[in-house]
Amino acid sequence: MANDIEATAPKFLRDKYAIIGVGETPYMRGSGRTTRAMATWAVRNAMADAGIKPSEVDGMLSYQANDSTPSPVVSSDVGIRLNFYMDVMGGGSSTEALVGIAIGVIEAGMCKTVVVFRSMNGFTGVRMGATGRAAPSMGGGALFSAIYGQVSPAQSFSQTFMRHMHDYGTTPEQIAMVKVFHSRHAANNPKAYYKTPVTAEEVVNSRMIVKPLHLLDCCVETDNATAIIITRADRAYDYRHTPARILSVVGRCGKPRGDMHYQAGPISTVAGHYAKDILWPNAGLGPEEVDVTGSYDAFTFTTMLQLEDYGFCKKGDGGQYVSDGTIALGGRRPNNTSGGHLCEGYTHGMNMVIENVRQLRGEIDDYCPAGADGKLAHTYDYGAGCRQVRDVNVTANLGWAMPGTGSAMVMRKG
């Protein structure tokens, strides 16, 4: 792995920042709590995880879609005085982008340590899958989409997914294996909302939502909050865990025509096609050196399309890559070992970053028994409750907003 940091090059921030703390609420349906209460719960957990005092955290970032609580309120409930905060609009792909922004504001001297949170009642509050259910009136851009019954993410991405099957012969059974593997991972995750493994037959026989998406090709909707804490690498070793050092970030990189992504280029190609040319050179390594991936699984297809366009396999071979066992625990490069959005819970991407931080630490929270040191003694028996991957040195998170927009991050074990 490349550690040859060229301090005079534009990429000199490589390896200078780290994630030192992660935290989350349970993944719930019916939280019975406000997004404020959940956010403070997750931020407290992240601070406790890092072993950091509130007085040592002075920056806050969050993302939302008018469905959450802003930073000044959340920070007050956890005793943090802010030198910097910003609450941005956004769902999927925000996490990695905000890590990049956190690095930037610390580098600019605006603050020293930033907590990033996402709090959402994604099941009992604002539901992604119910976008536009009310629709009392429409104008502007809705007259080119929603009025044609194209409002939800599933409806808006379906043409991209369908065209990939047409262009490359990708089959429903291949794609179904993303859900199959993620469901097996979730079976080893006490936190997962859906813990029962499913078969490919069950996926392709589940009811059709929007062709080519069956019900089980779509992620779960849950209520939860998640948080991560970022600081400079030279401070990161003052805290409890082995830091997850950040080698590279890409934030909301896009195809041309962000207004209507399918107006440009092959529609079966997604933003990763562009993002990979920032991600890998900045990281100083390539897909072959990655041990664990976190490719966003709002849908089975989004995992496949991104792994393909970031270069984990040849363009067009995504169906083979996600179905041949490579992405399963025990395989060459497991993806979403927590069960991801398809099974663990829906957070707009942050739980996949949290999972990879824990993978890099070697401290996954699975069903393994505690050893003499109080930490879980991992058995690496993936059929019996373990989901810790052996010797994880490098992870890659691939965040998805839509076919035309994505973010990414590479981390290494500190």
Partner: protein, 173 residues
Amino acid sequence: MAALNGEYLGIQLSVSDIDIENLEFFRRCGAHEFSLQRCKGCGLLRYPPTTGCPWCAEAESEWTPVEGRGAVHSYGEVHHAIQPQFRGHLPYQVLLVDLDVQRGIPSEHEALRIVGNLVTPGGELAPPEVVKTCGIGTRVRMVYRDVGEGFALPQWTIDEGASQPTPWRYAQE
């Protein structure tokens, strides 16, 4: 203030008087004429209406009538409606149609990809037996669904006069 008002499937539609690009587009649809902006800089057509050229950033453009014919580039087929207004019309297709005009320009991967539903020649959402005949490659022609005074939505119907390829359809019916 709304300069165009309409109603479709019980949904109220409006185009604001300051939304001048969309206003011109839908007024022309209201006259059953499909027009797109042609850039005065690079000469390329674009969809949907925008305030500048996506290819060269030129602000000036000229509305140009364009023939509403093409082939289905891809589709989604909705079997579980979210909007209650669509529940009586399942399954319905959301088509991306490559216009014949400017296909493969500026690169082989581009086309003017026009959104619309598959409808009957009369403009009603197509029944299930017709939906089953339409897939990638199907030749379609534009029809207009009047939604208000001088206001119509462009839609797509199977082009009965065209020679039809065997369409590519998703494996499971």
